[in-house]
Symmetry: C2
């Protein structure tokens, strides 16, 4: 067992499970919601609401990230961010995460430490405690994160509450991660802004609870792509949704990248996943909180998700197994 920082030649095998767990959790600052931090059989976290929101999402090397495209720190941040976005999409404020890290025994200890540094950094950025972890050996690097959140006395905002006549709004970036993926796929490493958006999303965590307070009727985290995730929301709510492209801002940076690569930036905005923006429906009379932009409306059932009144003709969303 080694208590000091990892040297360049240590691997997770030489460092040992207990040394690694101690190294990545010792001395981390904890928010007031962490009542008992890591090191015991389990942690204790405040749940002042009397209910707790919980979600889990795992990232796998070669499927959800590549360590030649992303730094371990980006990957650690992303594994936390995708979970915190799910908590926000319920209208809750995240309180804590736990992490199960699987990696090959010959993984440099510095890589494992950087992964966990990224986990800690994103958690700290969101005011969330890293309250527990498990380290196991496997063929791939797999980061399984579970996040908890508190509803502060509000009802959870499900996917199923949208009603005809509601407006549809989004908050956060759309299409940036897809543009970054296109850039990386061509072997480029810039523009850094879109490449970094693919490496780690920047979800608007606080905007989920703000939407809940403003009366959001349904909400979802845009992980698979705007049209795909609005499709999930529409199905759960048994409504149709029409998106107006004249309401969708296509950032100048995406236009530039699209021009350079011969790609349609609007397609990235409509179908690109992994940005973890939030999409929600609100009563037509609602005052949208800062950062939320109206992009369409909820319509009568049986029309699915349409774009400017017609079905979108190009493939949208993706599945991990295909």
């Amino acid at each position: 067992m080694t208590d000091g920082p990892a040297s360049g030649t240590d691997t997770v095998r030489t460092l040992g499970e207990f040394g690694l767990i101690q190294q990545v959790t010792a001395g981390r600052a904890q928010p007031p919601t962490t009542l008992l931090g890591p090191g015991d059989d389990a942690a204790v976290v405040a749940a002042p609401d009397g209910r707790v929101v919980i979600t889990t999402d795992a990232l796998v090397e070669g499927v959800h990230f590549r360590l030649d495209w992303s730094t371990p720190r980006h990957v650690g941040r992303k594994a936390v961010a995708v979970n915190l976005a799910d908590i926000a999409a319920m209208g809750a404020v995240a309180t804590s995460v736990v992490v199960a890290l699987a990696c090959p025994p010959d993984t440099p200890a510095s890589v494992a430490a950087e992964l966990m540094d990224g986990v800690a950094a994103e958690a700290a950025r969101a005011g969330v405690g890293v309250v527990g972890g498990d380290m196991v050996r496997a063929e791939n690097v797999v980061l399984s994160v579970t996040a908890l959140g508190d509803l502060g006395g509000r009802a959870a905002v499900p996917r199923s509450g949208a009603r005809p006549g509601d407006i549809v709004a989004v908050c956060g970036r759309l299409g940036w991660a897809a543009a970054g993926l296109a850039v990386l796929g061509r072997g480029f490493r810039s523009p850094v802004s879109v490449v970094n958006a693919q490496r780690c999303p920047d979800p608007p965590y606080a905007s989920g609870p703000e939407a809940a307070r403003a009366g959001a009727t349904a909400m979802i985290d845009v992980s698979d792509g705007l049209l795909a995730d609005l499709g999930h929301l529409a199905t759960a709510s048994d409504v149709g949704i029409d998106v107006r492209t004249d309401r969708l801002a296509v950032a100048e940076r995406l236009v530039d990248v699209g021009t350079a690569l011969g790609a349609d930036p609007l397609h990235w905005v409509l179908t690109g996943g992994e940005d973890h923006a939030l999409a929600a429906t609100f009563p037509s009379f609602a005052d949208l909180p800062e950062g939320w932009v109206t992009i369409g409306s909820v319509v009568l059932p049986d029309t699915g998700v349409t774009v400017d009144g017609t079905p979108y003709r190009r493939e949208s969303g993706w599945q991990h197994w295909s």
Copy 2:
């Protein structure tokens, strides 16, 4: 996407992520603590105490289990049981679990379904909801489970509260999983009782909260082996512990297996992991709850863990990475 049960030729690839998630979560009964079950961005679970206990542990094929030794159902049950034992060891009552399942794309859908059936079966046995999940592709089967629990107004029982003069007690089986591992390692499949103990533990979940109510000063789940885990407790509490072998019951079945294999069954009891019994310390005047047996005493610091007053000479515990 397939809604019906998996046929023999389906794989997780052909079934698709969404079909698999739906198949393993749809229609499962939920306990009253599950306020919003699977299917949204996150679930909502009751936390009546205002605090929530949380732990995570992952099992990896080839490291923690072998699918030629265990059925997928055993593995699913074990992945839940090891987490629920950690919740019990804090003195809490488990309320829910979430599961991230990683598996190769060519995994038969029936295997994934049986893994999740095992998860659901052990959760149901403990009155716990399976409230969320994620399915991802990886080289190994990795089951990452996170469990939540409720303290019912009690203080959590940490590892660090043991005091000189306390008694040391255990509840649950010791040495059975190690005996089962020895049997399997020699190529045998019986006696079934010890082999099944290795495939899936039978932790005494209710005995954790009962120990807390009876005034337990420190508690730990015996996952690495009795002496190793008492060592963790002694270190956290800054005390020594002496175990009396005349107090340790060695089951007749373990004596028989030891005789057949030429092994010392007491060594299994003292050092065998994976049974997930509970070990705790109590004030000397405490009335031990049913199922708890005194096996030793807490002594002054600097003596570590001793057996009948002397250091145990044989190696104990194990590390995943070595």
